[in-house]
Amino acid sequence: MIKRFTALLLALLLVCSLAFAQAVTYPENRGSVNDDAAVLSDATAQDIDLLNGRSEVGFTVVTRHFLGGMDAQEYCDGLFKAWNLGSDQVLLLLVIGEERYAATLGSTASKYISAEQLNSIFSSKLRQPFIQQRDYDGAVGAFLLETASQAARATGKTFNASGLFGTAQSAPSSSGSSSSGWTSFSNWTGDLWTSFFSDDELNDLSGQNYSQDYEYENDSGFSVSRLILILAVLFIIMRSRRRQGKNGLGILGWGTAGMAAREAMKFTHHRRR
């Protein structure tokens, strides 16, 4: 009876092992950073841990040299399931030797960040430093910061990115309510003007690493071209009102003046640093 049972058990094990012979074996989860390709710096790994404490979504970053013919997105999805990551998690996979990347979002995280937004973040923040400059730290930093900002915007909460991935350390006294107001405004103007000045800014920033680019664009960055455009719009508004025989700036004028003032403040802040 025991022999029969052992034989049956062996046969069952064999069938199971044959069935899973072709199944993918995933590495063990070693926390938020699984840098198997050894391309990320210790500082980036530390910043990812810090970011996880501040962001609405959690991040896990995986780097591999190759995937042996497997599709990156398929591998990333499989890894997300195998590691049983939570619904608020974002898993970023970078395949260094294949120059491919993929991300998988949990159900809660995907409510904050749509597929279109994720693709946009990939193309605007990750693709260039990852493939062209091979600045893996910069690529990961820029992607994570933008994704965390997007999640914060979606939830209406504040996100403090200061000190992470090379961004400027904000003054402790000004990191309260005013900073949250500025962040959303800055992001709005950033979205508004990026399409107009993207080429200029890229030229201006040539030679700098991507983490600095992020700071420049989103946090406390100053753009001369942006200031000139705002002043030009303000001038047109004032002239138009004068022709109509009206005094003052009007709602539109005051709004534009506010934007100009903000740019000027950025300028002084930039100069002080």
Partner: protein
């Protein structure tokens, strides 16, 4: 009186109806014994086949390693060589056959892959563009040659061949003959090249 006779005849008739011809009984018994022998042989040889199948899994893992290495090598080579390059095409052909169904074909493609991969790696290593790229130069001179070296281990194949040979030898016995009658086949053996 006549009623008693009729009853005894009926009993005799019933008795005769229940009894079986001894020759038929013997035939049934022989058939049953044969069936028992065949079933027993089938079960026993299926159990013996487990060790061959276990060795097959190890060989399959080794081929899978070669498939993955081929993909990785083709990814790097594809950045520097045109698609019609002869060495690139050879590795691509090996990969295609290694992913095919036939075990013997896969095995021979796996063997050819090792030499084709080394030739392709040598070509890439001598390419100046590769040399100037620190990342890909590391892949071509360090990582991928190591991967090819690791999967060139023929121990899994030798173990499989030994298990298959032992199993096949056993199938020539009487019980093996019965097992073959019930659908147990010889295990395919893989050709061993002179280099191995």
């Amino acid at each position: 009186m006549s009623e008693n006779n009729a009853a005894s005849e009926e009993k005799t008739f019933v008795k005769e109806k229940k009894s079986l011809d001894p020759r038929v009984a013997l035939a049934i018994m022989i058939v049953m014994v044969c069936c028992a022998l065949c079933i027993g042989a089938n079960k026993a040889w299926k159990k013996n086949r487990v060790s061959v199948d276990a060795a097959y899994i190890a060989w399959e893992d080794n081929i899978q390693q070669r498939v993955e290495t081929a993909y990785n090598l083709l990814t790097v080579a594809g950045r520097y060589l045109p698609a019609e390059d002869a060495q690139l095409a050879s590795v691509r052909g090996d990969l295609k056959t290694m992913e095919a169904a036939d075990m013997t074909d896969r095995d021979s493609a796996g063997e050819t892959f090792l030499t084709d991969a080394q030739a392709l790696l040598a070509k890439l290593a001598s390419n100046q563009t590769v040399q100037s790229d620190s990342r890909d130069n590391m892949y071509v001179t360090l990582m991928l040659p190591q991967a090819v070296e690791q999967c060139s281990n023929s121990a899994a194949k030798a173990a499989y061949n030994a298990a298959a040979q032992s199993f096949n030898d056993g199938l020539h016995s009487f019980s093996g003959l019965l097992a073959r009658l019930t659908g147990i086949d010889f295990a395919p053996t893989l050709t061993v090249s002179a280099l191995e």
